[in-house]
């Protein structure tokens, strides 16, 4: 059964080169010993006080340090349920610009909460430096301890170390940026009116998911570098001069045609908001700035959307690990244990046939990874030859740093876990009248299920691939977007509405065409230029 693919060696290497010199210190090989056992467990009344939280936090911090978790400084904030809903409504951020959709979100949240249809999340943590974690006033002491371990050490270390977060977010400046954004938008509302600003924001929000960079743009070259490169090119061209070419008659038509065919932009661009910000002909400067603000915020959340399983799993794994260690060390009383374990069990429950719970999957994967390191079976040795039997701390550290959901699952989902979850994949083909079970958790299906699950977390398959294709520069300046269909999946009809938003930002007509794998245009949408 073993193919080349699953023989890929996954090394837990701790060489300097692997981390690109970015990390400050190597992960611990194994946990540091406990200095001294406490004489008695920490007090465990149900109600929290500031002193008790302080005490618990202290022990949790020390335990986390023994595992070598690398985190930003922590800032704990106690808030009320209403404030929690506030934070909820404005995408979890402590400040944000004003927009009606956040008001809608708040109303919906409040309503569900009051009806008891929904418990509030017991924590919100913000990827900032210092890392802000909210503790809700209503939580019991055990829950506060759980939140501290989960958010302040789990999520926090993930934010600080995962490569996507390192690449795309700047934790130290996000709060300042949001404050700036809030003030800027408020200022625009004053100057240009609520309606115009709201319309611009609506349009930007419609494109938010298509307003992120997926790869770093090349750094701007300095003037000196550019000159050097030009010289080099000229020198090279000089070397290639062959007088014979000069004597060939030129074909004029070809050149004219080439000119006509040239598209703008030269290459399709996937960051729609960036393209609009830089190229939309009619946007006012303040509108460009608003586009930029929305784009920046979308970019800030981009890593979170790609690391749901990893991030939640990591945090869940660590609160479980830390609190259990504290119990073993004699810090926690039995009552506390029962209480947080109950919440923990709820958090990681996975109902059959339902959507996959990212907490459950992530927690199971890290736990399983630890097991593979500590007690590998022959199967594990075959699937994970590089990590079976190695030290678990560096292995998990590596897994947390260098992957996103898609690659994490493709790399680390073990056959045992697929059996435990009883994963199976269902193929839904439009042309067939029935669903087909394409693979299940057996020898023949492990590879397939793992790949299918990995793709399920790939943002580029979850969201339609839409790129800026062309701008009619010589004609009516209309913008053409192109949707490249993946597996023949069509766009939702809402696309027409979104196009109106694009047209509002672009200022001229907008077309969208869906192109299937054979290169045929399957459907077109178009919106005329908005009235000026």
């Amino acid at each position: 059964m073993s193919t080349i693919e699953n023989r890929r060696v996954v090394s837990a290497g701790s060489t300097e080169a692997e981390y690109g010199g970015r990390r400050s210190k190597a992960p611990l090989l194994r946990m540091k010993p406990l200095e001294r056992r406490p004489e008695q467990p920490l007090p465990s009344p149900s109600d929290w006080t500031f002193e008790l939280i302080e005490q618990y936090h202290d022990v949790i911090r020390k335990t986390a340090e023994r595992y070598g978790l690398d985190t930003y400084a922590n800032q704990l904030e106690v808030i009320t349920a209403e404030q929690m809903m506030d934070a909820y409504a404005s995408v979890g951020m402590p400040v944000n610009y004003r927009h009606w959709s956040y008001g809608k979100e708040f109303i919906a949240t409040e309503r569900n909460y009051k009806r008891g249809q929904m418990g509030l999340a017991y924590e919100i943590v913000i990827n900032s430096d210092p890392c802000i974690a909210y503790l809700m006033e209503e939580n019991t002491l055990a829950m506060q301890a759980l939140v501290i371990a989960h958010a302040c050490y789990g999520h926090n270390s993930f934010f600080k170390n995962n490569y996507l977060f390192r690449m795309w977010t700047d934790a130290s400046s996000i709060i300042d940026y949001l404050v700036y954004a809030k003030n800027y938008v408020a200022d625009c509302e004053q100057r240009y009116g609520l309606d115009t600003v709201e319309a611009t924001l609506d349009s930007c929000h419609a494109l938010m998911n298509h307003g992120v960079d997926r790869y770093r743009r090349p750094a701007k070259l300095s003037l000196a570098q550019e000159q050097a490169m030009r010289k080099e090119r000229e020198a090279y061209a000089q070397q290639q001069v062959n007088d014979m070419w000069r004597t060939l008659p030129r074909r004029q038509e070809d050149e004219a045609k080439a000119e006509e065919k040239r598209r703008f932009p030269d290459e399709p661009q996937e960051n729609l908001l960036y393209f609009i910000e830089k190229n939309a002909p009619l946007l006012e400067p303040w509108q460009r700035e608003i586009v930029r603000i929305v784009r920046k915020i979308a970019q800030y959340f981009y890593p979170q959307r790609q690391t749901q399983v990893m991030n939640e799993g990591w945090a869940t794994f660590w609160h479980h690990r830390l609190l259990n260690t504290m119990y073993d060390d004699g810090y926690l009383s039995d009552g506390m244990m029962i209480e947080w374990l109950k919440s923990h069990t709820n958090v990681v429950s996975q109902p059959s046939l339902a959507q996959i719970n990212p907490y459950a999957l992530g927690f199971a994967m890290y736990t399983d990874l630890k097991r593979i390191c500590e007690a590998p079976t022959p199967e594990d040795r075959e699937w994970f030859p590089g990590i079976a039997g190695s030290d678990w701390l560096p292995t998990l550290d590596h897994a947390m740093r260098n992957f996103k959901d898609e690659s994490f699952i493709a790399q680390y989902l073990s056959p045992k876990l697929m059996r435990d979850f009883r994963f199976f994949s269902i193929l839904d083909d439009e042309r067939q009248s029935e669903y087909e079970i394409s693979a299940i958790h057996d020898e023949a299906g492990y590879q397939h299920v793992r790949q299918a699950l990995s793709r399920q977390y790939d943002l580029s398959t979850r969201e339609p691939n839409i790129q800026v294709w062309n701008v009619n520069l010589r004609g009516d300046r209309s913008l053409t977007l192109r949707h490249t269909q993946h597996l023949d999946r069509p766009l939702h009809d809402e696309a027409q509405e979104v196009l109106k938003h694009v047209a509002r930002l672009w200022g001229f007509g907008v077309q969208l065409e869906s192109v299937n794998a054979r290169g045929d245009v399957t459907r077109r949408w178009s919106v005329p230029a908005p009235q000026h």
């Binding site: 004003r98 006033e137 199976f424 269902i426 083909d429 029935e434 079970i437 057996d442 399920q456």
Partner: protein
């Protein structure tokens, strides 16, 4: 090591979302106004000041994004397989747009459920006032809570020095001193008694002498201890507590007079209803107890309940004076002017039996207006008939009689302009 801190945010930044909520309400103003209008129709006029549920269709609130629709090929991984093996085929559910629990399609499906939210009392009134084109001054008059009077409400342990209640504090201190010194004083008394007996004995005996010295030393110690009990301790302090109690002036009665002859259709009645509501709201701000008397009339007048007042239709001619006569009778019987502030509000389409209009004016001028604080008449139709003319004569000479034509809700407020103006100035 690192900077670690717990910040208590509970008291700061309440209602941070209010700006977002305002924007939300602003965006859906039309739907909200419609909901308020419907609510006003349904409610009794005494029942205006509470919030309202507003329903907005979900599709109106949708924020569109590019996403996948149904169709094409997709593969979904789910947990919990117990019965299938590879190659099994499962029939697709009929009709449901949810392809095997597809990822995004399910969220934006056919859900036509309404988005429901609660408009608070303030927001409801805001929209209601906006509809009536109420100027700000009147709005604040209406929104203002009644005057407060501070009244005593016992004692509390915390307060400003000016509120310190000396007698209470000293009484507490005394009690505490007695309680704290009890044991010591009892022992002191015993020792003093023993000292007395010891003094009678032979003081030269060594054991008596030692006992004497010991007792004396103990007495000195106890006296010191008793003296050390603080005379006044912070826990003894008592402060006068005062709470604010709303203090509406007194009681009022409001007479609603309406023509229910055939020419008053639903929309005119609705206009009239808003007119009554406005007066009622105004009165609630100023009076503790308000009675509302509904008198409807065609050729005869009748006192009815609110339901019948607004919703029963009758046909026939119109004799307005019959209502005024009944009103006067009711005042005489139940609401003596010395005890009640009397307000009258009359709505009609101006149609009256022409011989009757003069009598109406006389009735008002001689009997009713002298008893009333304010009398407002609104004509919910355009045409000026003899009732209008007679009333116009009356309005010239009587300051607390107001009249106005209103064919739209926004024209109602001016009827009360004087009423609100007066209050606005005095407030």
């Amino acid at each position: 090591m690192t900077l670690q801190q717990i910040i208590d945010r509970r008291l700061s930044g309440k209602n941070k979302s209010i700006g977002n909520r305002e924007r939300f309400l602003r965006r859906y103003r039309d739907q909200i106004r419609e909901a308020v209008r419907r609510a006003v129709d349904k409610r009794g006029i005494r029942d205006m000041e509470r919030g309202e549920e507003v329903h907005i269709p979900k599709r109106d609130l949708n924020e569109p994004v590019f996403s996948h629709g149904d169709g094409g090929t997709r593969e979904v991984v789910r947990p919990g397989n117990t019965e299938h093996i590879k190659g099994d085929r499962v029939p697709k559910p009929q009709g449901g747009g949810q392809g095997g629990g597809g990822s995004q399609a399910s969220d934006s499906g056919e859900g036509e459920d309404d988005f429901v939210f609660h408009l608070s009392k303030e927001e409801f009134m805001q929209v209601f006032f906006e509809d009536l084109a109420l100027p700000n001054l009147a709005r604040t008059t209406l929104a203002e809570t009644p005057e407060y009077k501070t009244v005593r409400a016992g004692y509390v342990t915390d307060g400003t020095p000016t509120n310190l209640h000396v007698v209470r504090s000293m009484r507490g201190a005394l009690g505490r001193r007695i309680a704290l010194g009890m044991e010591k004083r009892r022992e002191l008394h015993e020792l003093e008694a023993r000292l007395e007996t010891l003094r009678l004995e032979d003081a030269t005996k060594p054991d008596v002498k030692a006992l004497l010295a010991e007792t004396e030393a103990r007495i000195v110690l106890l006296r010191q201890r008793i003296a050390a009990i603080p005379f006044l301790d912070p826990i003894d302090l008592r402060f006068r507590n005062r709470v604010k109690v709303p203090q509406p002036t007194t009681r009022a009665v409001m007479f609603c007079l309406m023509d229910v002859s055939g020419s008053m259709d639903e929309s005119r009645k609705d206009l009239a209803k808003r007119f009554f509501i406005l007066l009622y709201l105004f009165l609630t701000k100023h009076y503790e107890k308000i009675d509302v008397v509904f008198i409807r009339h065609h050729t005869q007048a009748q006192e009815v309940d609110e339901q019948n007042f607004f919703h029963a239709t009758e046909t026939g001619g119109t004799v307005v004076s019959s209502a005024l006569v009944l009103m006067e009778e009711i005042i005489r019987a139940r609401y003596p002017a010395s005890e009640w502030n009397i307000y009258g509000a009359q709505a009609s389409d101006g149609d009256n039996w022409h011989h009757d209009s003069g009598r109406c004016r006389e009735l008002l001028a001689d009997k009713i207006l002298p008893l009333c604080r304010y009398y407002a008449y609104v004509q919910v139709a355009e045409a000026e008939q003899n009732l209008w003319e007679e009333y116009a004569r009356l309005a010239e000479e009587t300051p607390h009689f107001a009249m106005r034509k209103a064919v739209e809700v926004s024209q109602i407020y001016p009827v009360f302009r004087d009423l609100f103006k007066k209050e606005g100035v005095s407030a």
